[in-house]
Subunit: 211 residues, 2 copies
């Protein structure tokens, strides 16, 4: 599958590398000129990885991962809305205040629902927002796989995202329609507070136990 | 320990029974005259269990469990605020719309924070709101214990609630101050939607994996 990735920070670079290793072709869409850091990362990734502009990555991908800071998201999504229409957009953003004290949106809407409004016709799937980069690298915790909660309004799109999560070792929990992002995004805020303020560290992950 | 329980529904009755079995003395505070159903439950519980009015249960308990429907909560808490002052109040409520479609409060406040405003001087600890009654009965899922997320602004109160959770088999996750209820209450909404709409059923529980 061709996957475009908006952003090459921790989340984008890690997921891009893992999906390239799994046999997908990845294009990183960068907002700025390429950085030394990004180049070094891309160099390790070999021929299955390219870089380009955001518009080029949007055109390249059948699936696009949105992995840029929340404050840049509206402008980027609006500017690329035409290219994104009809495609699967994986939203792993969290609308977090710069001081990490809380969420900027919630309760009556969510980042994912806003993004869907900014890119009409795009099949937005919320996923990976509750997972730290360290857990992306290795989803195993002893004998358990960490859970990825996904939600969205397009079932085939959710199935694609689910298979991309399973391919890198996660258990997929289908949380229903995109509106469930209102409950999944606060879980990311909780994760961040546990990791940073609660001294649980970043090697923590949510698991849905079942019996 | 003397534990007063406001309400004798699924959550209140189950926690009351488990704590009575663990050696605590429990008084159920009932809003109405005793029901056949409540009597039958109390009969099974033996001498460690009493019933009374809400005011009597508030006076009896060193710790009070608030386990009544959200729509009755404000009136009940305000009416008993004087008795509750200085005590530990375990809030397991969720401010859920009657049709279960979403939360009534959130983002800029939470049920727990509202309750703390209604009962000044009470040491409110959010706990058990993300746990189904079936998981209360048995917190084990294979080789894992389900997690109880607790938060509150009084550390000794949190320690007491944590020990009450551990006594019935849970792993306790300290999520920090009471404001974290803004992120823990949406998790209960997610749990309910997964259980009911997502067809995961009620034998599901949240676990924080760590390594």
């Amino acid at each position: 599958m061709n996957i475009g990735i908006f952003g090459a920070g921790n989340m984008g670079a890690t997921l891009g590398r893992l999906w390239a290793v799994a046999g997908h072709d990845v294009m990183f869409g960068l907002r700025d000129v390429r950085s030394q850091r990004t180049q070094a990362r891309l160099f390790e990734l070999g021929e299955h990885v390219q870089e380009g502009s955001l518009a080029e990555a949007a055109a390249f991908g059948q699936v696009i991962l949105l992995a840029i800071p929340w404050e840049a998201t509206e402008a980027v999504v609006r500017a690329n809305a035409e290219q994104l229409a009809g495609k699967v957009l994986i939203d792993c953003t969290n609308p977090i205040k710069p001081d990490l004290s809380g969420l900027l949106v919630g309760h009556t809407t969510s980042a994912a629902e806003e993004i869907a409004r900014w890119a009409p016709g795009t099949k937005v799937v919320k996923a990976f927002n509750t997972v730290g980069a360290g857990t992306l690298e290795d989803a195993r915790y002893g004998d358990h796989s960490a859970s990825v909660l996904i939600c969205g309004d397009d079932e085939p799109a959710k199935a694609i995202v689910g298979s991309l999560a399973e391919a890198i070792g996660f258990e997929v929990i289908d949380a229903g329609p995109l509106v469930e992002s209102r409950y999944i995004e606060p879980l990311a805020m909780l994760w961040i507070h546990l990791a940073i303020r609660g001294n649980y560290g970043s090697k923590i992950a949510v698991k849905l136990l079942r019996r």
